[in-house]
Symmetry: C2
């Protein structure tokens, strides 16, 4: 084996800076674990002259991706530049040049994960991507190794820090969505264009990656049904609290008899559910296995150093494999064919908030409709609204199918006594 | 490679039964992961004729440990029989006969872990012990691999299910220790001789194993300072609640400048600490890494199937290593020499409950003493006791050293106005 292992980076933003810091500061520990030194050899950047948050040697920097992906001296390519199409080309190049790859890129892995893993396998290379889901939490390893002996039937994840921060502040401070979003943008917890976070797309990508691994099926982004948090109101959160629930943007992946459902949406959890206490920008993934039962993995979902920790841990695994000469053996083709549940098989409880006409017969019209669809109530509130001519009805249902619920919802919306169905969310956890 | 891998079990109690169930039920998944079948070949039991909770073939059972540990057909020995001295001999035999070992035995690993790991290494064998700490939670892997790139500076664990169950019930129901213990024994959450659990010894063994791995130092059981929960009263818990704290039996392992402290004891945590919400028989390990920040791993700490999941996951790793021909490479000698902190370096906040004479000057005598030791108050309560001649004073201090606190404690106990210092606990988390 060589004296040291040479690493090339694609990108030197916040995560790349963190990776270089950790490699520098933990040289002794890294050497102890892998038996040789780790050297940064090349770093792809857009602007060589830009000032950096970490000390870099001048001859490291390049603007030519080939200098990282094709240099025979480089053993491992770490991708922390983001982006999809170009980035995919760079990594394909690196793999064809027999370089192992570590990436933090969820967009890339959700779209081209299967293809890149296949290419890695063909070239006898490792491809690891722990940092792509839930930043500093070693969840992919836990699914792949720690729970290797179990059959995972359910995963629920708070896998987007921005939306968890926004919902936490809205709940705690009784504030409006747009005000908290603006505050989050100021503090750097939300992007200037927050669409991908607040509309649930970022979480959906992570759920596609988690379900692919956890269920050993080839789950893609289009399989995930997605709803964001931009329509959540302080009024919804007020009633959640009153009824003993906490609202979170939850990614849900469930398997029943080898048929799966994967979705992302604002979801009510009972306050004593382990995920209900995960606040601010923190992430957590709750995993239910047939044998192990309930487990949960909690930690920072983003940030320079936490994400970089996951990247460098993957690097350590690559280096250990290099030492033992066993790279390229970690990827498995999916064991199961993917079969998505139909809506009539997707079972859940629901929260509904309706504005109704406050007169005799309203309540009976609503409850008859629920009875017609055989949906029973777990909780029910009716409150007069200011003015007195309208009232608000809040319902938490017992379990019903998504198909049945959709029909009920449309019929409710069409009822004469119902002015509007203001909001509707899934309810998980508990009995 | 052979057609299948043969496994021998030492012991067929609850965990052993779980191991056989999982191997039987998950044959397809196991074969997919490791490329060959897994066969149970021999099982050491005490009584061959005893009725079992799982179907076993007659020719599996033996009462002779050599039939498991010396049989050339057996590749991996799984130890789930418990015990220390004899068990250690069996495993040493197995390793000398080039068998890989998976064990769930914390007592054994806390006492002889270093010796057995060394022997495994000498014989080119794997020795894994994930199930020995926090049952179904893959915490040892997370420390060894997932956080491999980080420097861990603090671990806090709820690593004993029995005591967590007892403290949870005492808090929720306002019940007395002995009543809840009896109830726990009835439900099977506590042993008929609960000493090892309630006096903190079981947790101490797990903390020795965790700190050895997390700090890469050879930490042994004698290095852990231990206090159990048998003196905790409903009155203590009442004041905890009133002050916004939750009491848990917490194992604490801290590193500052490569000097460490490891202890187990009833500890107050602020209610918003991630560990404060871990209830009943659940376990959790909170890990603070310099780079990753706060992470937490939550799950069942015991039980047949959860513990068996961890055992079989270790077995999967052994089998993957066998396929690649890389067994015996996972053990590292400790990187750092162990240096324990002196008491003057161990820094903490404390909760104190005192019975005092209710007269003029009492409060001033107490506060002057605190001032003399430069210990300031974070919270302070004084309440009259029934009868009116005595009062109760409850203090939460700011940070001070263990040495300083011990002297203060003794001086308080000796004060004329203090009838008795009823209880004293460490306070962790928060500022």
């Amino acid at each position: 084996m060589k004296q040291g292992i040479n690493v090339g980076l694609l990108g030197l933003g916040t995560v790349g800076t963190g990776v270089i810091s950790i490699i520098k500061q933990h040289q002794q520990e890294l050497k102890h674990q892998v038996g040789c030194a780790v050297n940064v050899a090349k770093v792809l950047v857009r602007d060589i002259d830009k000032k950096r948050g970490v000390e870099v040697e001048e001859n490291w920097l390049t603007t030519d991706p080939a200098e990282v992906c094709c240099d025979p001296e480089i053993d491992v390519v770490i991708e922390v530049m983001g982006g999809v199409e170009d980035t995919k080309e760079h990594l394909a190049n690196a793999l064809k040049n027999k370089k192992h790859v570590v990436t933090a890129n969820k967009d890339l892995m959700a779209l081209y994960g299967a293809e890149l893993l296949h290419l890695a396998s063909e070239n006898g290379c490792d491809l690891f991507y722990e940092a792509s889901v839930a930043g500093g939490i070693p969840i992919l390893r836990s699914l792949a190794d720690g729970l290797a002996a179990d059959r995972i039937t359910k995963m629920m994840g708070i896998v987007n820090g921005t939306t968890n921060y926004i919902l936490t502040k809205m709940s705690q401070e009784g504030s409006q969505y747009l005000d908290v979003l603006a505050q989050a943008q100021e503090l750097g917890f939300a992007e200037s264009d927050p669409t991908s976070d607040v509309e649930g797309l970022d979480a959906a990508r992570k759920m596609a990656i988690l379900s692919t691994l956890g269920f050993s099926m080839d789950v893609s982004l289009e399989d995930v049904s997605v709803k964001g948090i931009s329509q959540v109101t302080d009024r919804d959160l007020h009633y959640c609290e009153q009824l003993g629930y906490t609202m979170k943007l939850i990614g849900i992946a469930k398997r029943d008899d080898d048929r799966i459902e994967v979705s992302v949406g604002p979801t009510l959890l009972p306050n004593d559910h382990p995920l209900a206490a995960v606040n601010n920008e923190y992430n957590a993934v709750y995993v239910y296995g047939e044998a192990v039962g309930e487990t949960m993995f909690y930690g920072p979902g983003a940030g320079s150093l936490p994400t970089a920790t996951a990247v460098v841990s993957d690097l350590v695994t690559v280096m250990k494999n290099m030492r033992l000469g066993v790279n390229g053996h970690t990827v498995h083709a999916p064991l199961h064919e993917k079969v998505l549940k139909e809506d009539k098989e997707i079972d859940s409880k629901y929260f509904l908030r309706m504005r109704v006409t406050d007169k005799a017969g309203t309540f009976s019209a609503i409850t008859s409709l629920f009875a017609e669809y055989e949906v029973s109530f777990e909780k029910l509130l009716q409150l007069p609204l200011d003015g007195g001519e309208e009232a608000e009805v809040i319902v938490i249902t017992h379990h019903t199918s998504k198909e049945n619920y959709r029909e009920l919802y449309e019929r409710l919306q069409a009822l004469e006594v119902v002015e509007n169905v203001e909001s509707s969310y899934r309810v998980e956890g508990g009995q």
